[in-house]
């Protein structure tokens, strides 16, 4: 938990300074104030300690729930911590396609936003994943099928095949799927956002 102690002439000033240094709003902190008398008992100072009193996981969940409520969308948000200690938000709404977006663009934006939000309140970097209506899980399955099918083709014809541009996460799924194949190699080429994967025959 993030914590900081600062001494100042007024308690309010100390609280502001703590919030500014820790870069967390006072609303998310708990403060302990200790009054310190100076020599002769004239100059009073305040020693204030601020503790971050907020659960990053809860903030993420509440923010998502508020978002869907604002849009008048019925939504279920559940949280799970996986084996790699990643926080996973699983969302199911009555308007999943809109929230997933074309090629998962909106989902990607929601994940990026939530990841940054959660990391405001964590010590060190926390991996955060978001899925809507099982989109990512399905997409993974599809990509693995595509990878296997294309790899078989490449192994048979000995002709390299370029796949459509994909984001890093999707390319990784294919690289991983084909990493143990003996007769093909996978490479990423081009620049974001048009970076794509090539499956080549292994020259042996």
């Amino acid at each position: 938990m993030k914590t900081l102690t600062i001494e100042a002439k007024s308690a309010e000033e100390a609280k502001r300074e703590i919030a500014k240094t820790l870069r967390i709003a006072p609303d998310y902190m708990r403060f302990e104030v200790e009054t310190k008398k100076g020599l002769l008992g004239i100059k009073k100072t305040y020693e204030v300690t601020g503790y971050v009193d907020a659960d990053p996981v809860d903030i993420g969940r509440t923010t998502l729930e508020t978002f869907f409520k604002n849009l008048d969308i019925e939504a279920e948000v559940s949280v799970n911590v996986n084996d790699n200690n990643d926080i996973e938000y699983r969302i199911d709404t009555d308007e999943n396609p809109v929230m997933i977006g074309k090629a998962g663009k909106t989902l990607e934006a929601i994940q990026y936003y939530i990841r940054n939000l959660v990391n405001v309140f964590t010590e060190g970097h926390q991996m955060v994943l978001v899925d809507i209506g099982g989109y990512k899980a399905n997409r993974k399955k599809q990509l693995e099928i595509l990878a296997t099918k294309t790899a078989k083709e490449v192994a048979r014809t000995k002709v390299p095949v370029k796949l459509d541009p994909m984001n890093a996460y999707e390319r990784r799924i294919i690289h991983t799927k084909l990493s143990e194949w003996r007769d093909v190699v996978t490479l990423s080429e081009g620049e974001k956002p048009n970076r794509y994967l090539v499956i080549k025959p292994k020259s042996s």
């Binding site: 500014k20 870069r23 508020t66 978002f67 809109v98 977006g101 909106t106 934006a109 990026y112 939000l117």
Partner: protein, 82 residues
């Protein structure tokens, strides 16, 4: 169904900032199709709301854009500090 986009954007940005009292989200114009939004934040919070290479700002834009598309509207968001 009338969505309050000011409220929605406000609720998305508020937990990110250190100075929530200085956060203002205003609708500049709404011609029925295109809604122009303006976000004002404390100068100390500008970096966090915009993010590296503007990525957080763009994520918020994408989210707002999708949200408005449900009502066949388009949202543009401008972010500034005062």
């Amino acid at each position: 169904m009338a969505v309050n986009y000011e409220q929605m954007i406000h609720d998305l940005v508020k937990p990110l900032v250190v100075n929530p009292d200085d956060l203002v989200v205003k609708k500049l114009s709404d011609d029925g199709n295109i809604i122009a939004m303006q976000i004002f934040v404390h100068p100390d919070d500008l970096g966090r709301v915009i993010g590296k290479n503007g990525r957080i700002a763009n994520a918020v834009r994408t989210i707002a854009y999708a949200s408005a598309s449900r009502e066949h509207k388009r949202i543009t968001i401008n972010i500034e500090s005062f």
